[in-house]
Amino acid sequence: MTERPDLTQALGRVLGPAGAEVGCDECFDVLDRYVELELAGADADAAIPGLRAHLAGCPACREEHESLRALVGGSGA
């Protein structure tokens, strides 16, 4: 099958995640807990359902999740 990452990404941006998701405000409210669970190796997605899907669908919240995870988990903290 022909590779077509551009198409997949473009469609993904338009159609968003398939599953149930939280909104941006709810994402911000629980992001700190989610990141600590991730860094502790716990099942963050089971503890906070709907957040992973939101991060897939919202580039801004995804960037902030990546940054918080890097800051807390890396040398920045």
């Binding site: 473009a10 941006c24 801004a60």
Partner: protein, 234 residues
């Protein structure tokens, strides 16, 4: 996943809908408790704690600026310092205003970092779009080109893309179309669009979510599915 089993929700879930009813922050860790004690004190103890908090927020804001800065070459060192300082100042106000919201679900430092990262990220997005026109008409349907595909794939993809394009034009409300086109097709950052339209990130994402659900439902009604197309690729 087949269209028939594709889960479709009509509303964004609130955290209380999705997050299990688990007690949050059963016991504050020692450091978090000390932060709260000092920030709720009066006089020099509070002043010193606020100064330490600002330093912490500034470090987080600088961390974000150093991560995103290289992708924004038109912002100079002074601009980036300015963003970091403003972000730390604004985050300090937010943290102090929302201190009672901290329930110990994470360490206090992790909780406050997110305020500084948010402020810095939003400011960077807005600065990078300062003076630029926000495109509200589709610019990138070309990404959906079927060039180079096998004839069978081309037909399948073409049907989905054509249906999708028509649905964007005909099924969505004008506001949903404006938001979806700007955010999902033209790559306008959500905070920039929120500022231009005089609304919030949360409200815009709700509109985007509703538009996406409408489009998925329409594709579903037409017997088409993004997930099945992607699955076939793998």
């Amino acid at each position: 996943m087949t269209p028939a089993t594709l889960p479709l929700v009509t509303e964004l879930q609130s955290a209380t809908d999705l997050v299990p009813a688990e007690p949050i922050g059963p016991a504050l860790d020692e450091e978090s408790r000390e932060w709260l004690r000092c920030l709720r004190a009066e006089g020099p103890v509070k002043d010193e704690a606020v100064a330490r908090l600002h330093a912490l927020l500034l470090r987080a804001a600088r961390f974000e600026v150093s991560r995103r800065g290289p992708t924004l070459p038109h912002l100079r060192g002074n601009d980036l310092d300015d963003v970091a300082n403003q972000a730390a100042d604004d985050a300090l106000v937010s943290v102090l205003r929302r201190l009672d919201d901290f329930r110990g679900a994470s360490r206090f430092t992790t909780w406050v970092y997110k305020f500084a990262l948010l402020e810095a990220a939003v400011k960077l997005r807005k600065r990078s779009w300062q003076g630029r026109e926000v495109p509200l008409e589709p610019e990138t349907w070309s990404l959906f080109s079927s060039a180079g595909l096998e004839p069978e794939e081309e037909l399948e993809q073409s049907e989905l893309v054509t249906t999708l394009q028509r649905a964007v034009a005909e099924v969505l409300t004008p506001h949903q179309r404006t938001v979806l086109v700007a955010l999902a097709l033209n790559g306008v950052p959500i905070d920039v669009l929120a500022e231009r339209l005089g609304t919030t990130r949360g409200a815009l994402y709700k509109t985007l979510h509703d538009a996406r659900r409408k489009l998925r439902r329409h594709l579903d009604d037409c017997g088409l599915s993004f997930e099945s197309l992607v699955k076939e690729e793998r």
